[in-house]
Symmetry: C2
Subunit: 389 residues, 2 copies
């Protein structure tokens, strides 16, 4: 201890910003996770007139709803503070608003990008069913290989989860292709989606079969996540053209070929699944119908089912005919999940009506809530045990 | 385009924080990288009295030094702004100070944690020699496998770089073990160190031999980076006990065994290197002398050579005897690099005097600057071409 302290003090005294490595001994702890699952936020700013916390706070079942905006109270020491009621086990996002200006909590180093916004995050009780925590179970490997797309004319980055034991087992594994939404990228499911932890924990408990999970980038004009491509550290744009115009679906077999060539996969239809959220649900719908012999498990999480919107009718004109072909040898699982407040609820209802009218079998899950990560994580937890059985 | 816009607007209008996915159409662009390599920062805050940018700005060779604190000027619209002089090609870190309170730039989604501090980052002209950019070259794969340490009694997370073509070449590769400093972790070299980009670019140009690079976690009490271990999203501590008391060195062969068992490695001394910064330099010094037959290339970047401090003498009492054994069959490269302003400069000088007194051969590089990532990235660029030749 004595030795480390000497070094820490040496660094500290020597520190001019980034001229010497920085140690920021934070004056306050924020967020502080309390034993009763409440959370205390603190922020040092003697000059501010008003400080608020804005977050996606969720009450435990049966408890009173928690407002998403909480006012902080200023102490005589210039430290602002507020404490939430007890929260449900979940991964939470929040930011501060200081005199009307959005800012991150400078005491919390955990921060996640969602589309073009950074939010601080924290985790209560290991999250939903305790599945978001990094527990004492065997861990899979997360990798970022690049594949070449002839069709898109570039190398593109993937996130690949291989289950614990993959490296030495000699076995072949089924594959789930797990797709992100608009504005997301190949990091979305492993970061905000907690997919790595969910898979580690559910495979360890035996609820889920060991599988390879491939998380590609579904933006045709973006070879990799912001900061990970030749575009460098440029401002990400939430409007990504051409990603819902049929090209991505056409290029998808290049990903499957790459995975089959580089990983020990099982390659039959019964050993492949595809699922995605929002735009990724749209892609899952179209890819699974365009290649009806490819995947036997399909998951549409809050899916954008836009072929039923005027704008997309031309591009996806043959959707109904292809669905007919797909359901002639119906997928073992065609899973639709959406929140009752989701802005895509109505188009999903239209889509279900179409499936019903044709007697195409599917599984339908409706939850409270809207177009949000909380639901997508829950849908993944619900979907995974249904695969490859 | 029309379709994406419809969805973006739908999401936008539906957005209550994190209840629906968020699109934050930033009102200003910051940082804006200008054609002359200057950078404009902008920040919206009509109520603030004083806003500064604090960063590690470096002038091009020959140009006047740039202060690390720049005052921003308030426009009539409440937007604060300042522009730097032209900067040298480099990766930069900065933060804002608003009425004396440190904050991140809310318009910049690129942010990196160094020890316990978050800073925004940006890149000028692909960095030093253009090597930090993601260029149109074949990309290696970055993976995060976990190995088991019997000695430390836990699974521990690694970052592993395998060069482009590794998956299908069938060849065996030499291995560099690349270690971080105190307060760092297995993500440090791939994030602030730009090691992935440096390796991709220098292997593609033929300057550097294709190699596997293993970036372990050198903190014995920390199985993985903050947020990646069972500790969850808890506040990281800059003081990590027991990491410089001999245990890590004892446990190091477990990492080498894991890598040799799971990757196609070359396993002779001439095909192994070890290098590290600060505490990682300390570890490299001791590991290379404790296992004199293991590594033929050793790099000490701004190394903590604390065996010469009073506190460490007992633990590392046998250092001189072991160095004698190591240098009886001298490493092909024993590389020491440090900045003239580094707070570890004097102990490095003492260490060099010891090596000189014994006629142990080594390569010495002295640069301007202190204990900082800029230097460590430059040392890596200088070190890599010397390996496995």
């Amino acid at each position: 201890m004595k030795l480390q302290l000497t070094i820490a003090l040496a660094l500290c005294s020597a520190a001019a910003f980034a001229q010497q490595a920085l140690y920021n001994f934070n004056a306050v702890t924020s967020p502080q996770l309390n034993a009763d699952a409440s959370v205390t936020f603190r922020y040092v700013n003697p000059a501010a007139d008003s400080v608020k916390v804005i977050g996606d706070f969720t009450a435990p079942e049966g408890a009173e709803a928690i407002p998403s905006v909480l006012s902080m109270t200023r102490g005589s020491d210039g430290v602002w503070e507020t404490t939430t009621p007890p929260l449900a086990p979940e991964l939470y996002s929040y930011r501060l608003e200081v005199d009307g200006v959005a800012t991150n909590d400078p005491s919390n180093v955990y921060i996640a990008r969602d589309v073009t916004t950074l939010s601080n995050i924290f985790l209560i009780d290991g999250g939903y069913r305790g599945l978001y925590g990094i527990n004492d179970v065997p861990h899979g490997t997360v990798s970022h290989p690049w594949y070449h797309s002839d069709l898109l004319g570039t190398d593109r980055r993937l996130t690949v989860y291989t289950p614990a034991g993959y490296e030495t087992s000699g076995r072949n594994y089924p594959v789930l292709y797990l797709l992100h939404g608009m504005g997301g990228d190949e990091n979305a499911w492993s970061e905000l989606g907690r997919a790595t932890q969910i898979l580690d924990n559910m495979i360890a408990s035996g609820e889920v079969r060991p599988m390879i999970v491939v998380m590609p980038n579904g933006n045709v004009d973006m070879p990799a996540a912001p900061g990970e491509s030749h575009l460098g550290l440029t401002v990400p744009t939430p409007q990504l053209p051409h990603s819902m115009e049929g090209t991505y679906e056409k290029s998808f077999p290049e990903i499957v070929s790459f995975i089959d060539a580089n990983y020990r996969t099982r390659r039959d239809k019964a050993s492949r699944a595809i699922a995605g959220l929002s735009m990724g649900g749209f892609h899952s719908l179209h890819i699974s119908k365009d290649y009806p012999d490819m995947m036997d498990y399909v998951g549409l999480f809050s899916a954008a089912v836009w072929p039923f919107m005027e704008e997309a009718k031309a591009t996806y004109a043959d959707t109904e005919a292809k669905l007919e072909k797909q359901f002639a040898d119906a997928p073992r699982l065609y899973y639709i999940a959406i929140g009752s407040d989701d802005f895509l609820y109505d188009t999903n209802k239209q889509y279900r009506a179409l499936l019903d009218s044709k007697d195409y079998p599917y599984t339908y899950i409706e939850t409270p809530g809207g177009h949000m990560w909380k639901n997508w994580r829950h849908y993944l937890v619900d979907f995974l045990p249904r695969l490859f059985k």
